[in-house]
């Protein structure tokens, strides 16, 4: 059985993986999580089951790697915010901080669906839940994010 050269996987899914990482982390950490995601994927790639959905697989790894970094730095991310930063960057930080404050299930649903681009059915499979449950978690999460980010302004 033939398998696409890994370079093509990076080409096709690199931006999506970065979005997932960046949603949860600042830029430098997102770069690290991005690299760690593709290194882990590269290692497992030759033995990945044929017919496996590459993008769902990658988004799941990316989410896990980003959460790893977030756990290591949770105080930093949730805690202090530099006083003067560009508006775009401030909004990114807000998003990362707000996401970090969501209950885990909501955060996962939001990140996998909205930033990873997985349909709810696939998010449900990744999270071993039902489509209805993850749809609810996602919309609760988005509502909560808006509140969190509105309050912080």
């Amino acid at each position: 059985m033939s398998r696409a050269p890994f370079e093509r996987i990076v080409e096709r899914h690199g931006a999506r993986v970065w979005r997932v990482c960046r949603a949860l982390l600042d830029e430098a950490d997102a770069d690290d999580a991005w690299s760690e995601t593709f290194l882990a994927a590269l290692e497992a790639y030759p033995t990945l089951a044929h017919g496996a959905r590459i993008e769902g697989w990658l988004v799941t790894i990316a989410h896990r790697k980003a959460i790893d970094v977030l756990r290591r730095r949770s105080r930093l991310v949730v805690g202090e915010v530099p006083e003067r930063i560009a508006p775009d960057r401030a909004r990114d930080l807000d998003l990362a901080r707000a996401l970090a404050q969501l209950p885990q299930r909501q955060r996962e649903a939001v990140v996998l669906h909205h930033l990873g681009g997985l349909p709810f059915a696939e998010v449900a499979a990744q999270l071993q839940s039902s489509t209805d449950a993850v749809r609810r978690a996602s919309s609760d999460g988005v509502r909560r994010l808006r509140v969190l980010m509105g309050e912080e302004r």
């Binding site: 696409a4 050269p5 970065w18 991005w34 775009d88 996602s138 980010m149």
Partner: protein, 208 residues
């Protein structure tokens, strides 16, 4: 399908796009780290030469493949993924030395490829033939029949032609020095013009 994250603000996903520069940098760094961790089985790059755009690929053991499709390498990359490993990344830096060595040969600045070669894509009789090709001196030619004899199978003239056509490392391993017994050039994996050019650079006298 996806509920737009931007509806009603107060945040949107747009700023989360990586810039083109960042993507280039990330991919270069990925190749380096993959190599450090022993996860990069095949590195590749393209190389513009007077013979056209080449595709060079290497394993940790050395240069493993030279093909004449640097401008459209998809088919070759698929083949390398199948026959060697799908752990393939574009990593020009890792092929700097090999690219220089190939360039030197094509420009006539070197008489032999300098650097490690990985012959794992040549198997069986093809491998025997490839080994014989490396013994043909710079600036000289041999006939397909002579190479067949040297490989210990004097009647396998046709198979020698096939082995030359399948040489995984043309230019580096001089299959261009094998010509027909009547002095005509015969075929070449990179086209007859490329063969002619290589032999002219070497100063080998050939009929046209």
């Amino acid at each position: 399908m996806t509920e737009p994250l931007s509806s009603g603000v107060p945040f949107r996903a747009a700023p989360l796009e990586p810039s083109a520069d960042r993507v280039v940098e990330l991919r270069a760094r990925l190749a380096d780290r993959a190599a450090e961790r022993g996860l990069l089985d095949v590195a590749y790059r393209s190389l513009d030469t007077e013979l056209g755009a080449l595709l060079l690929a290497s394993t940790p053991a050395g240069l493993v493949s030279v093909t004449f499709d640097g401008a459209a390498p998809d088919a070759t990359l698929e083949r390398l993924a199948t026959s060697l490993s799908p752990r393939i990344l574009e990593a020009p830096d890792r092929l700097d030395a090999a690219a220089r060595a190939i360039d030197d040969l094509i420009a006539g600045r070197a008489r032999a490829f300098v650097g490690p070669l990985d012959l794992s894509l040549a198997r069986g009789f093809g491998r025997d033939v490839i080994e014989r090709l490396r013994e043909i001196p710079y600036g000289e030619t041999r006939s397909y029949a002579q190479v067949a004899a040297a490989a210990g199978s004097p009647r396998a003239v046709r198979a020698v032609g096939t082995a030359c056509r399948r040489n995984p490392l043309p230019v580096a391993i001089p299959c261009h020095r094998v010509v027909r017994s009547d002095g005509a050039l015969g075929q070449y994996v990179g086209g007859v013009e490329a063969k002619q050019r290589l032999l002219r650079i070497e100063g080998a006298g050939v009929a046209h």
